[in-house]
């Protein structure tokens, strides 16, 4: 196993961390699959943007973050919250529009929050959360806190001016922030090549005198390594990094279904990436190298299933917000 890890320069990775990578990815996968299963009931009355196929990025990045490090996410944010440690109950309750939801039923699936774990709100305007993440890291710098901010965004947000303005500011002020671009090649149904001439997102960092790296976003160890380097650089005052992690979303832009049959994307493309499933590949790796036993893996899956069942029951049983809630929470 040590030999395999040498190729990442990460031969010191322990079984503990490798198992946590697997558990984090599987927890996201099973959570999202539960939504696929339940969504047709139409009891979750809000749009859902699923991250099935992209789990390695959230897992690999967030395992490098402390509880009070900040995370800024986007419309496709379930995985980021789960990887940062959010419990499932307030998330499912939010999807069901219940008063016990993380945003008290006022946000829905696109607006998740968990301030206790550093998730200071989620913007569903593409690129909109990037400046806010930089602002939170500016606050950490001004307060002399040892806190790193990770900002997740997609290749669509790379089209937005807010990204460039924010990255420039972060590099100028050497802020402790990591930009994580989950490049799944599509902004809704528009391919990256139809929107960007170069398709070399991570190269952008050099123009801003910062560090950029492009990794296989389906390889959780590669993501973990890139994030570890970037987080430690940020923490020691080395400024921002831009991680471009190439991956693929298995479902359509929104909703629980795949979209190839609507002509949005070629089926062969999906098949190619499903073959490279980040969870399946890592499971095979752990088994082959005798890091983890099938029994241990089954136990992990059972625990996650129990957590999901509990969270769904909790969400279903929770009350809706009362009508008087409508006009509350606008101003402090």
């Amino acid at each position: 196993m040590r030999k395999e890890l040498l190729k990442y320069g990460m031969q010191t990775l322990t079984k503990n961390i490798l198992d946590r990578m697997y558990a984090s990815m599987l927890r996201i996968r099973m959570f999202e699959e539960k939504i696929v299963e339940l969504y047709p009931e139409q009891e979750m009355k809000c749009p859902v943007h699923l991250c099935i196929g992209q789990e390695a990025i959230a897992a690999g990045v967030c395992l490098n973050l402390k509880k009070d490090d900040y995370v800024f996410s986007n419309h496709r944010g379930h995985g980021h919250c789960l990887a940062k440690g959010s419990p499932m109950r307030p998330l499912f309750a939010e999807f069901y529009g219940k008063a016990t939801g993380c945003s008290k039923g006022k946000g829905g699936s696109m607006h998740l929050v968990d301030a206790e774990r550093g998730i200071l709100g989620t913007s569903a305007i593409v690129g909109g959360g990037i400046p806010m993440g930089v602002g939170a890291s500016l606050a950490s710098m001004l307060k002399n806190e040892e806190r790193v901010t990770a900002i997740f965004f997609g290749d669509g947000a790379y089209d937005e001016g807010a990204f460039y303005e924010s990255f420039n500011f972060a590099s100028l002020k050497k802020l402790p922030v990591v930009f994580v671009c989950e490049n799944n090649f599509y902004a809704t149904n528009s391919h990256q090549s139809a929107r960007q001439p170069g398709c070399r997102i991570s190269d952008t960092a050099a123009a801003f005198d910062a560090h950029g790296v492009c990794v296989d976003g389906n390889d959780v160890i590669a993501v973990y390594k890139a994030a570890r380097d970037s987080v430690s650089r940020a923490a020691r005052g080395g400024g921002p990094s831009l991680i471009e992690a190439k991956t693929y979303r298995w479902k359509g832009h929104v909703g629980p279904e795949a979209d190839f049959d609507k002509g949005s994307r070629p089926k062969e493309e999906l098949d190619y990436w499903v073959e490279r499933c980040p969870v399946k590949a890592f499971r095979a790796f752990l088994l082959e190298k005798n890091v983890t036993t099938p029994k241990e893996m089954d136990e992990v899956a059972s625990a996650i299933k129990a957590e999901i069942d509990d969270a769904v029951s909790f969400a279903r049983a929770s009350p809706y917000p009362e009508a008087k809630e409508l006009l509350e929470d606008l101003y402090i």
Binding site: G128, A136, I332
Partner: protein, 347 residues
């Protein structure tokens, strides 16, 4: 109280000050500078950020020298990236700071609308009250010397439309200082709009730190025949108009609105119940502006008290022109208010 009085010009104020040796006078710009300075000194979570806040002019003198006293981390120049820098201020506020963001011209704020409308204004409600945005965005209205269409707009109506924002437009030095502190400690995003022609105005400003409540207007001149609601610079034009009308035996009550959102509807309605006549003088355009809102509220709640149709005094419905000849025709003043009040009196 001396600090609630509006002085039309410096000479008038200095004459008054000579008779009140215990009081101190400051210009509007000095009042803003003192407010920022006191908050920077007393609270490490306060910082100032914006294009040129540390340059030698110091945003028309309102931030002058602050970077030397408090350092460039707390009085921070920014790249020309209005949208991101606004978002950065929003993010810093959510993470526990109290930023004072300066956009030197209101005209630059259309570049920031995503962060103001989609983020700052939503961040508390959208997350069920779990977060809040203690942010002040100071911005300045220009006027004259050919500033033209992109350096002299009055966009308060755009911001006042948005639930989640507050919009403040102080007219006196006393209010500038007190409302800036109230805005920084309000806990919500506050758009703080200053009119450049107010910077040289003088008034009583106590040295100690104090606040003026957001959402409260004030009667600047009591009267019985007509209510004139003035906003920002138009408060001074309204006072001039009231003096002139008094010469003709018409006694106006002048209200300084001070806050556009939330609006002090009660104060206006009480006044209209007394006078039965209403004129609103705003610095911006007429359509869907504060004047429209004020008159609607009076119609909704005190229609029976109106003795005549209400009137608005606003900019003509075109962008600002550059030529001095056209500028002169563009900006309304005391004479237009006099004429509007007379119309409500059937004269």
């Amino acid at each position: 109280m001396p600090w609630t009085k509006v002085y039309g010009n410096k000479a008038e104020f200095e004459k008054h000050l000579a008779g009140e040796p215990g009081l101190r006078g400051l210009t509007y710009r000095e009042a803003l500078l003192e407010a920022a300075s006191q908050m920077l000194a007393s609270d490490p979570s306060v910082f100032v950020i914006g294009e040129g806040v540390d340059d030698s002019g110091g945003v028309f003198g309102t931030t002058k020298g602050l970077h030397q006293r408090f350092g460039k981390d707390r009085v921070m120049d920014s790249p020309l990236a209005e949208n991101a820098v606004t978002g950065i201020a929003v993010g810093a506020a959510v993470a526990g700071m109290r930023p004072i963001l300066v956009h030197m011209r209101v005209d630059f704020m259309p570049l920031t609308m995503d962060q103001i409308i989609n983020h700052a204004a939503k961040w508390r409600y959208m997350f069920g009250g779990k977060l809040n945005v203690p942010l002040v965005i100071r911005s300045i209205v220009g006027r004259g010397w050919g500033s033209a269409a992109q350096h002299s707009q009055n966009l308060q109506a755009l911001f006042a439309h948005i639930p989640g924002l507050k919009v403040v437009m102080p007219s006196t030095p006393f209010d500038a200082k007190g409302l800036l502190k109230a805005s920084v400690y309000d806990g919500n995003p506050v758009i703080f709009i200053e009119h450049r022609w107010l910077y040289e105005h003088m008034g009583h400003v106590p040295e100690e730190s104090y606040t003026v409540p957001i959402g409260k207007g004030i009667v600047r001149r009591p009267g019985k025949d007509a209510t004139v609601v003035g906003i920002s610079h138009m408060v001074y034009e309204s006072m001039k108009a009231a003096e002139e009308l008094m010469g003709e035996g018409i006694d106006c009550e002048v209200i300084d609105l001070r806050t556009i959102r939330p609006m002090d509807t009660g104060l206006i309605i009480e006044s209209v119940k007394k006078t039965g006549r209403l004129v609103v003088a705003d610095t911006g355009w007429k359509d869907c502006g504060p004047g429209s809102e004020i008159i609607t509220r009076v119609v909704e709640e005190a229609f029976g008290f109106l003795k005549a149709p209400a009137r608005r005094v606003n900019l003509p419905d075109v962008p600002t022109p550059a030529s001095p000849a056209l500028e002169k025709a563009y900006y309304p003043g005391a004479a237009d208010i006099v004429s509007a009040v007379k119309k409500t009196l059937g004269k």
